[in-house]
């Protein structure tokens, strides 16, 4: 298993936000995290990536307990893509992607060929190579998200965590981003709002409700009308795509 979480508990001010979550992610898998607002998706991602320490429970990534590994070592193995991270600083696309090399460089070390190769490859991967000199401020929302993913790729991670990477994007860019994430040869855990996108692009889906895992499995196994009624409080019809056998959800008005 690439990522293993055991009995994670986290909360703030006496409110439990992540409640006894255990999960496994296999190598190369794309795992979707879905759940209503406030179900603990973002918090769980931060626990899994070590940005927050759990109150109890533990996370293992590539066989090591992340609480015992330095931030720098961790950042060479896993990357985290926030939703809508932005800046006022006047940086270029290339400057942003170069930041991804931070965990691989010592305080005063020069820029190596390996660093350059990682940055170039990452920019190619998200099809932003031609825009490397462009100012970050002038990019559209979808382009910014692609640059953030490029920066994460420049870390040369084996595992990637993405917190709602499709937020505020139009449908074309939502599909484009997720297709790209799916094709990457890294293990990824993606928090998603859109159930049909999750159904289309994830290998497996974990459903969170009030901080706890209520279902886990293939999209077809998890996204059933009773579960959708129970967790999301919607009436829905689930059909299956003829070619891929992936579920497709249609919501009913009443």
């Amino acid at each position: 298993m690439t990522v293993t979480a055991k009995n994670l508990v986290w909360g703030a001010q006496r409110k439990t936000i992540v409640n006894n979550v255990s999960l496994d992610v296999a190598e190369g898998e794309t795992l979707g995290l879905i759940g209503p607002n406030g179900s603990g998706k973002s918090s769980l991602l931060r626990l899994l990536s070590g940005l927050r320490a759990p109150l109890s429970g533990r996370v293992e990534i590539l066989g090591q307990d992340i609480a015992r590994v330095s931030r720098k070592t961790l950042a060479r193995q896993l990357a985290f893509v926030q939703q809508n991270a932005t800046t006022d600083t006047n940086v270029s696309v290339r400057d942003v992607v170069r930041l991804g090399r931070t965990p691989h460089r010592s305080a005063l070390a020069g820029w190596t060929a390996a660093d350059e190769a990682a940055v170039s490859a990452a920019l190619e991967r998200v099809e932003m190579a031609g825009r490397r000199a462009q100012a970050w401020q002038t990019l559209s929302g979808g382009e910014r998200q692609r640059v953030h993913i490029a920066r994460a790729l420049a870390q040369s991670p084996r595992v990637m965590f993405l917190d709602e990477p499709t937020n505020h994007l139009d449908i074309h860019h939502q599909i484009e981003i997720l297709r790209m994430v799916r094709r990457l040869d890294v293990t990824s855990v993606v928090a998603l709002h859109d159930l049909n996108l999750a159904a289309t692009f994830c290998d497996r889906i974990v459903v969170l409700q009030a901080g706890a895992v209520v279902a886990c499995g293939t999209p077809a196994g998890v996204l059933t009308p009773p579960l959708l009624r129970d967790v999301f409080q919607v009436e829905a019809e689930v059909t299956f795509e003829p070619q891929t056998a992936r579920p497709h959800i249609r919501f009913r008005a009443a």
């Binding site: 990357a79 932005t86 800046t87 270029s92 931070t102 870390q155």
Partner: protein
């Protein structure tokens, strides 16, 4: 290495720093030559080499003394203060992710003035405590309060800035209270003059202390320059890039507070350098801190030496407070940068 970025590469940075350093030497030479008692540059040069023990040229003792004992130490302290304030400004702008951040945003200057006033007006320490030590103590008291209010600056940039605002208000109020209730007119004038900054009265011991503090500060900041870059998209993002955020922030806030408090305790609160110079330097060498910090130090040094010269020559027989000059020169310069860097969209 940065062939395709807008900014020049390492050689370009070296060239820029070299030019600014030459400018600094020229500016210091002029600072030593210009004043009520004018001395020609050749004599200044000989006085400096005499002072260093390299030559024993025969120049009038009064000129030797004016150059070496008064003006050179003053110019070099001005250079170091400018360098230090500019570095602190750049660091705080990065850590607080706020373009308006400057060395005094965390209440250090307000605390220093309260400490100075306590010594000048109330006579705390009964002569054993100098104005500088009072100011230093006040500055650190203010910084400690800000650290306390913002849980060691872990509560996010805006929270930290608000804590700084609160501390500034508190200490400014204390200063005003002491001046209005206890001070006489002359003391009030002294305090105000000190608040606006002055290089009058600085001597070699001040230089020796400041050169150590600024050099150590610059080295520590340079070692953390890469980590500072990682703060571009915020604290959590820096953490995900492998930066030990809490430790770096604590060290850098501590270093900037120490540098600022030392500078303020010597020369008062010289505004605007720490705000303007980082923006100007960023405009020239780009936002990456390994390039930005040396550029800030060099530009800040030249800026304050020139401002000191201006403060002495503008009004005859008088010295204008240095803070007045930095603002008068700085604002138009800043306006140009703001205009040229305005968003294109």
């Amino acid at each position: 290495m940065d062939a395709d970025t807008k900014q020049c590469g390492a050689s370009g940075l070296a060239l820029f720093l070299g030019l600014v350093m030459i400018l600094l030497v020229v500016a210091v030479a002029f600072a030593a030559a210009i004043g009520d008692y004018r001395i020609d540059v050749g004599t200044v040069f000989l006085a400096v080499t005499n002072g260093l023990g390299l030559t024993s040229a025969d120049i009038p003792p009064i000129e030797q003394s004016v150059v070496w004992d008064l003006r050179l130490s003053r110019a070099l302290v001005a250079a170091l203060a400018g360098a230090g304030l500019a570095i602190c400004g750049a660091i705080l702008q990065a850590l607080l992710r706020n373009a308006l951040a400057e060395p005094f945003v965390l209440g250090v200057s307000a605390g220093a003035s309260t400490g100075a006033v306590a010594v000048i007006v109330l006579g705390i320490g009964a002569g054993s405590l100098s104005l500088s030590m009072g100011a230093f103590a006040g500055a650190f008291a203010a910084f400690a309060l800000v650290a306390l209010l913002s849980n060691g600056a872990t509560s996010g940039p805006n929270h930290t800035i608000l804590a700084g605002v609160a501390a500034s208000q508190l200490f400014n109020a204390l200063t005003s209270y002491v001046v209005t209730t206890s001070g006489n007119a002359q003391q009030a004038r002294d305090v105000m003059f000190w608040l606006l900054g002055s290089f009058g009265g600085v001597r070699w011991p001040d230089f020796q202390l400041l050169v150590i503090v600024v050099a150590i500060g610059l080295v520590i900041c340079l070692l953390m320059a890469r980590s500072l870059d990682a703060f571009t998209f915020g604290d959590e993002d820096a953490a995900s890039l492998g930066v030990p955020v809490a430790r770096i922030r604590l060290i850098l806030f501590g270093v900037t507070a120490l540098m600022t408090a030392t500078i303020v305790s010597m020369v008062g609160t010289i505004g605007f350098v720490g705000l303007v110079v980082p923006h100007a330097a960023r405009y020239i060498v780009g936002p990456l801190h390994l390039r930005l910090l040396p550029a800030c130090a060099a530009v800040g040094a030249v800026f304050l030496v020139l401002a000191d010269i201006a403060s002495r020559v503008v009004a005859e027989q008088q010295t204008i407070p240095i803070g007045v000059v930095t603002a008068l020169v700085g604002v138009p310069f800043f306006a140009i940068i703001l205009y040229r860097a305005r968003p294109q969209t």
